[in-house]
Amino acid sequence: MRSEPARILMGNQACAEGALAAGCSFYAGYPITPSSEIMETLADRLPREGKVFVQMEDEIGSICAVIGASWAGAKAMTATAGPGLSLMMEGLGYAAFTETPCVIVDVQRAGPATGQATRVGSGDILQVRFGMHGDVCPIALSPGSVQEMYDLTIRAFNLAERYRVPVFLMADEGIGHLRESVFLHKDFTIENRVRDASRPPFGTPEPDGVPPMPVFGDGAELMITGSTHDEKGFRKVDDPEPHRRLVERINRKILDHEADIVEVEERFLDDATVAVVAYGFTGRSALAAVKALRRDGVRAGLVRLKTLWPFPRAALARLDQRVQRVVVPEMNRGQVAMLVRAEMNAEVVSLCQTDGEVIEPEAIAARVREVLP
């Protein structure tokens, strides 16, 4: 099936390989642990492929350069961690409001503030959804293996192009620095924005809510602004209707396509009475925990969230039909558990760990045993 030999790579390297495979042609960034291997790999590889790498003066400059390059026609990305992500917030909201495709990799570390730069965490999940002012609806993916650092980076580029939206790859230090085997395969298709200059670039009633995106030099005489704008790009800073229309459309174009965007992995659910909902590195521990529980006769199942935003509501509704108890282990104070609780009638138990260490399977299994119906 797979013709390429497996390679042993670090998660961050696999992410860089995924970016190259997806056609990434521009990287701007600022060094920060634990993400720097992505930047260092691309600093070497992109120029050799005739593509652009630039180290910017800070993360604000990085995201702004990414947006500028995207409008010049690049498939553009940056990678960072908590403090850098915080600096990028204003630019990320701009990207969402101007419908600029770009990919942001957040290799999460133990926050808040500088926290523990070399230790693991997953404290940025709500930040990428709610950290930008105003209502925007980004896409966020959560890789659970080195293979998924490759696969989901490719998917992130494709979704960014398809929906004209910033896409976050919410990695964590555990996955970013994990070394395991990965197939750098080519079994995927590449999506590209529609560079049609004959239709307005900011939303006539396109059936899917995603307007075409000509780029600089295409002769479209583009007018791009982060102020509220009409479909041609003219600023509309007082009228209620253009504002409402734009805010609704940039949210709806994502929410109306949940079924296309959201991916989850469902394991051992057929006869399950209790389930673990997990993501990122914790998804690995959760799978080990579920297998151990099953060896002991506990009918445990797993839902691993590969997409965090839009939130996988349909998968949780399905799970609600099966189980009475759900355990959500997380390397934060219960960010996703809060959302799961809002979606489910089942009892949702949070397992929080905020010590900069990965959650061990034993801890998850123990919590499941405690809550068994």
Binding site: G61, W71, L222, M223
Partner: protein, 251 residues
């Protein structure tokens, strides 16, 4: 603006206040492009937030990228690096480019990427109601310095030269011909070019500092300007309060 240049404009009206220097600067930019015969298809304007950031957007009929407050140069860096064929001009305000965006400005000067950055310096935050800028003269009255600004302003020419910029010029909008010439040279240099255009703000600066007549504001500004060669002949006392204008660096 003359009919012959109207083809550069996307809109026929402007939101600038009467007497604002930004409109004169818009005219100067458009004339420079016209005289150079720049290929409009590969022409990109990038601006930040502020009155000055509206000079290109929406006025100029070309690709325009109106960005965030302070970040125009960083956006332009990304676009120009990815597509070096784009003639890329950043037109924005003093507050935008040199206060909140100061870091991007000095790094762009250091990289010497071929961007032409035109700073419309009205020595104030015009759009937000006349607060102190990093360019406000000592003693000037502002909305946030009601008894006079206590802090020294940047000398933007020295700032950009110090950061490694090689092509730097400063002119008041009251002297459009040398201003246009410097914009043209800056674009043609293919290097990082920084052009400071002193552009009066009658509404937020003039009125608050008791210069109610627009013509008087322009007269005073022009009288304060001395060309670099003349400035060298002045004593330190005579030079105080003067604005040294001209072309600097390797122009």
């Amino acid at each position: 603006m003359t009919r012959a240049l109207e083809h550069w404009l996307r809109v026929k009206s402007s939101t600038f206040c009467p007497g604002c220097g930004h409109g004169i600067l818009l005219g100067a930019v458009v004339r420079a492009l016209d005289e150079l015969g720049v290929d409009r298809k590969n022409l990109l304007f990038v601006s930040g937030i502020g009155c000055a950031a509206w000079i290109p957007s929406p006025h100029i009929k070309a690709d325009t990228l109106h960005t965030l407050h302070g970040r125009a140069v960083a956006y332009a860096t990304g676009a120009k690096l990815f597509n070096p064929k784009l003639t890329t001009l950043v037109v924005s305000g003093d507050g935008d480019l040199t206060s909140i965006g100061g870091n991007h400005l000095i790094h762009a000067a250091r990289r010497n990427l071929g961007l032409t950055v035109i700073c419309a310096n009205n020595q104030i935050y015009g759009m937000t109601g006349g607060q102190t800028a990093s360019t406000t003269p000592v003693g000037a009255l502002t909305a946030t310095a009601p008894s006079g600004n206590a802090w020294r302003p940047f000398d933007l020419v020295k700032l950009v030269l110090g950061a490694g910029g090689r092509f730097v010029a400063r002119w008041p909008v009251s002297r459009p011909r040398p201003l246009i010439a410097s914009i043209k040279k800056g674009i043609q240099s293919g290097q990082f070019a920084f052009i400071e255009a002193i552009s009066p703000c009658p509404t937020q600066f003039g009125r608050r500092n008791r210069v109610d007549e627009v013509t008087e504001l322009y007269r005073r500004m022009d009288a304060d300007c001395v060309e670099a060669a003349e400035a060298d002949k002045l004593s330190p006392e005579e030079r105080a309060g003067k604005i040294v204008i001209g072309e600097f660096g390797d122009v």
